[in-house]
């Protein structure tokens, strides 16, 4: 048996214990040391799958959750999931280690921090390992929620709250769109399992919902992966503590969209729409991000835009790679499949260099008190280790040897050139744009990488502009970025090991057509001879260096771009407009009178029930099968009538309350007569408690008196009350003459053998329909807390006045 699904639960289980650990050892031992073991354990466990998966196999394990609804907790690990799983836990472990030194155990609310973080870790693992699309969706939204909580971690700051809200609104919107798309997929294929969906591609491609489902799923992926024009949430998300930015907003969560696109490439890939949307949005994002990054004054803002840009790069590679499916399996298709391999490679590389860069920026922030490029400078002699790491990370990002970014950047160029060489989907006409955009974006990438290194570390050190005296960080803070920087170099020298164990299996997962061949025949090497890619890179370096040198001269053009046309401005306008509209609309009907609300509720009820009764011709009354009414029952009914009429005509509230109580007790009498002791007991007790509740409320109610208001209003009230009475009576009378569904009583016939209970009512409550009961008590407690909160808030408000 595989313990894979347990791995998803490990972070959640740790999360439960974190607050207690924090309480016990909070001030003595940093809580992070405890948390550290969660990602580490899962990482080590996942390593075990490498040999198996490098052979092209995938491991599948299933845990029944709600089998009757077809929702099972099915986990599936293949090449793609393995890369993500290792990134999540590997970078996760390093980030936790880093955060131990970054987050002060005296000043910060560490238990919140680590609970959110573990929540995220578990959700992200669940997202990539889950085989069920509904489970995937749940984890998807859970990552959005934990990201929201982490961005708003310093919730005292306005920027944090706004950034959190923005990311929440955008990613949840995308998540909901994705849910709709996933449901369409399951409608087409009649399954919730991703593996089964992937095996029924023919059904989907010929279906009329193909395009809507594709667009909805892409909306989910693009919002999560900060693609243009949804990218605006990512720079604002930089308000989060730096370990979080390094973890969620560069290495893992923002790559969930990439994961989704990769996962569904074999379903939608091969169509022109998918190819065009994914690759063009990717390229637009690439160039948009890189151009904006150059203009950033905040180091984290720069890294945020660079992340957007790099995500666009990976996305465009996946888009181009999807054309491989169009060609089937052959030479042409493997040319395009190369792009998918490059995407996976850059995915890993990006996590290594961007993770280390974020950590270094965090160190700079921590040790100097600022991240503003204009105030920094000359740190090279003060922080030599940080400088080295920054050089490794930045040069890798810029695509220079001997760092892993060089290899994947070259592969990126190769893929973009392929598009011209073997055109597809009408690429003949504008295919040339692909490599040109890629090249221009790379120049800007080069420029911002240089800014990152030279503006911070070279130049003149100006201690008077810094809040703290700058010095090198403690060793514990340096180890995690050092490990990542080390990987940056190691991967450059041994790319084919990575390729064999990770990239090829992932390729097979994305493009199952290559499974038989065990991937594509590619040897990644740093030197290909003097080919176009190399010339492009040289061009990038020369032109980039030139432009960096004259940055001051031309960077002024950024200020010419009108603020009105920025995406953020659109977003703010939209938000303000929506708030205005909804507050206007809400004020129309939220009058503050309970009477009005009851009018709405009852009118709606009459309309809904009356229409359905009328349309379904549901009313039928037939008394022939009814048992004769004896004197005793007749007497009880008369008593009930009197009680009911008393409620309506009583002059004082206390009489009305007592009459309602009497009515309830009489109903329970009927339960006794018809031998339903459980119901009778419940009704009696409920009646008692509500009578007490009514009596309590009684104190707060005004005197019952004749109210003087306009006549037409009362006519409406009369009509509504008559309507409700008539409808309910009609339904009650026709209930007995309908058998819309088969009787379910046989289901409970052998309750004694199944549940060991002689009381069938209780067996239904706690066993057969246990889930219903569980949710009921949950709702009940939430309602109770709601009442409590409302009243306490009201009291607090009054005291303030």
């Amino acid at each position: 048996m595989s313990w894979l699904y347990l791995m998803i639960f490990i972070p959640f289980i740790f999360a439960i214990f974190v607050p207690f650990i924090y309480k016990l050892f909070g001030t003595r031992i940093h809580t992070g040391w405890f948390v550290f073991f969660a990602p580490l354990a899962v990482f080590l466990y996942l390593l075990k799958y490498i040999p198996m998966i490098s052979k092209g196999e995938s491991v599948h394990s299933k845990l029944a959750w709600m089998p009757s609804l077809g929702i099972n907790f099915t986990t599936n690990i293949d090449g793609l999931a393995l890369i993500f799983g290792l990134l999540i836990t590997g970078v996760g472990a390093l980030v936790v280690l880093y955060s131990i030194y970054y987050m002060s155990k005296e000043r910060e609310a560490l238990h919140n921090f680590y609970v959110y973080m573990l929540l995220f870790m578990g959700a992200m693992l669940g997202l990539v390992l889950s085989d069920n699309i509904l489970v995937l969706y749940v984890f998807w939204e859970l990552t959005s929620i934990s990201s929201f909580l982490l961005i708003a971690y310093w919730y005292q700051r306005k920027g944090s709250r706004n950034g959190a809200q923005k990311s929440m609104l955008i990613t949840i919107f995308g998540g909901l769109a994705m849910l709709a798309g996933l449901i369409m997929l399951s409608m087409m294929t009649d399954t919730y399992s991703i593996r089964e969906i992937l095996s029924k591609v023919d059904l989907i491609t010929s279906h009329s919902l193909f395009i809507p489902a594709m667009i909805l799923i892409l909306l989910g992926a693009f919002t999560k992966s900060a693609q243009f024009p949804f990218s605006i949430w990512l720079p604002d998300a930089m308000e989060a503590p730096t370990p979080i930015s390094a973890y969620l907003h560069s290495a893992t969560m923002v790559k969930a969209g990439i994961y989704l696109v990769a996962r569904f490439t074999s379903v939608f890939g091969g169509s022109a729409e998918w190819f065009w949307i994914v690759s063009s949005i990717g390229l637009i994002t690439l160039i948009y991000g890189s151009i904006n990054a150059v203009n950033q004054k905040d180091l984290k803002g720069l890294l945020a835009y660079s992340t957007i840009s790099q995500l666009g790069l990976i996305m465009s590679l996946l888009g181009v790679g999807s054309a491989s499916i169009y060609f089937g399996y052959g030479d042409e298709s493997s040319v395009y499949a190369f792009a998918v391999l490059a995407a996976m490679f850059h995915l890993i590389n990006h996590s290594t260099f961007k993770g280390s860069l974020f950590m270094v920026v965090g160190i700079i922030d921590h040790e100097t008190g600022t991240r503003d490029i204009r105030r920094l400078g000359g740190l090279i002699s003060l922080m030599p280790i940080s400088f080295t790491i920054t050089v490794i990370g930045s040069f890798s990002m810029a695509g220079l040897p001997p760092f892993n970014g060089f290899l994947s950047k070259e592969m990126f160029f190769t893929s973009m050139i392929t598009v011209i060489e073997s055109p597809v989907f009408g690429m003949e006409s504008i295919g040339l744009l692909f490599p040109i955009i890629a090249w221009v974006a790379s120049i800007f990438t080069f420029i911002y990488c240089m800014i990152l290194v030279f503006k911070t570390f070279l130049g003149k050190h100006r201690p008077e502009k810094l809040d703290k005296v700058a010095h090198e960080a403690p060793i514990g803070m340096l180890i995690p970025p050092m490990i990542l920087a080390f990987l940056v170099i190691v991967i450059f020298f041994f790319p084919n090991v990575v390729s064999e164990y990770f990239l090829q299996p992932a390729l097979i997962a994305v493009l199952p057509g290559f499974a038989a061949a065990g991937g594509i025949d590619v040897e990644i090497s740093a030197w290909h001879g003097w080919n176009t890619e190399l010339f492009m890179t040289i061009g990038v370096i020369v032109l980039g260096a030139f432009m960096y040198y004259y940055l001051r001269k031309w960077s002024r053009i950024y200020s010419y771009y009108p603020q009105v046309l920025t995406l953020n401005n659109f977003y703010n306008q939209l938000l303000a407009g929506m708030e205005k509209l909804s507050s206007k609309l809400t004020k129309q009907y939220m009058t503050g009178f309970v009477r009005d609300y009851l009018v709405y509720i009852f009118t709606f009820m009459i309309a809904l029930l009356g229409c359905s009764l009328w349309l379904s011709k549901g009313f039928s009354f037939n008394a022939t099968n009814d048992a004769p009414i004896n004197l005793f029952e007749g007497g009880a009914i008369v008593a009930m009538l009197i009680a009911a009429l008393t409620v309506v005509f009583s002059k004082s509230r206390i009489t009305a309350i007592i009459a309602v109580g009497a009515l309830g007790y009489l109903v329970s009498l009927f339960f006794v007569i018809f031998r339903a002791p459980d119901l009778a007991l419940t009704q009696l007790v409920v009646e008692t408690v509500t009578a007490a509740l009514f009596l309590l409320c009684f104190y707060h109610l005004p005197e019952l008196r004749k109210e003087k208001s306009k006549v037409p209003f009362k006519v409406v009230n009369l009509l509504i009350s008559l309507g409700v009475g008539v409808i309910v009576t009609l339904i009650a009378l026709s209930v007995n003459n309908h058998r819309l569904f088969e009787s379910i009583s046989y289901f409970y016939e052998d309750s004694y053998t199944l549940a060991g209970a002689k009381n069938i009512v209780n067996a239904i409550l706690v066993d057969f329909r246990g889930l219903d009961t569980m949710l009921e008590i949950l709702v009940l407690s939430i309602a109770g807390l709601g009442v409590y909160t409302l009243i306490k808030l009201q009291l607090a408000g009054r005291e303030k006045k």
């Binding site: 209970a757 409550l765 109770g784």
Partner: protein, 140 residues
């Protein structure tokens, strides 16, 4: 002026014992006879409400220093955890089990995990009902 409620106090003291005892009976009888967590919980709540009505809130709170919001939360937690526990033995969520055991005093007795679930239900009901009534009565 202090109202004279000697009779109410005296009756309540006796009645509450009877109500609570009966509630426990209802709760445990639920498996085979009318009763169960919901009814048991509600009748405990009604007994408590009687106490609150007869004596004032402060007096009862001093004698029963329990936060009923927490009681409700613990109830829900117990119910969920009994559901989750079946996952660990490879059964679906909320699967209940029962068995017959020979206990020293009671003889052959049936023990069922459904009772644990019912404990959760009962606590949630008690906690919620009392919370609502207490908060409304404190208002104003």
């Amino acid at each position: 002026m202090k109202p004279n409620d000697v009779i109410l106090h005296s009756v309540t003291k006796v009645a509450v014992v009877i109500i609570l005892t009966f509630s426990i009976y209802l709760f445990y009888g639920g498996h085979h006879n009318p009763g169960g967590g919901f009814i048991g919980g509600l009748s405990v709540a009604s007994g408590l409400v009687l106490l609150y009505l007869a004596f004032d809130i402060e007096t009862v709170r001093n004698n029963i220093p329990v936060d009923f919001k927490i009681v409700a939360a613990v109830g829900v937690l117990i119910a969920v955890l009994t559901g989750v526990s079946s996952l660990f033995i490879g059964k679906p969520f909320l699967n209940q089990a029962f068995g017959y055991f020979d206990l020293p005093i009671f003889g052959k007795t049936e023990l069922a995990t459904a009772v644990l679930f019912d404990v959760g239900v009962a606590l949630a009901v008690i906690g919620t009902a009392v919370t609502i009534i207490l908060s409304i009565s404190e208002d104003g």
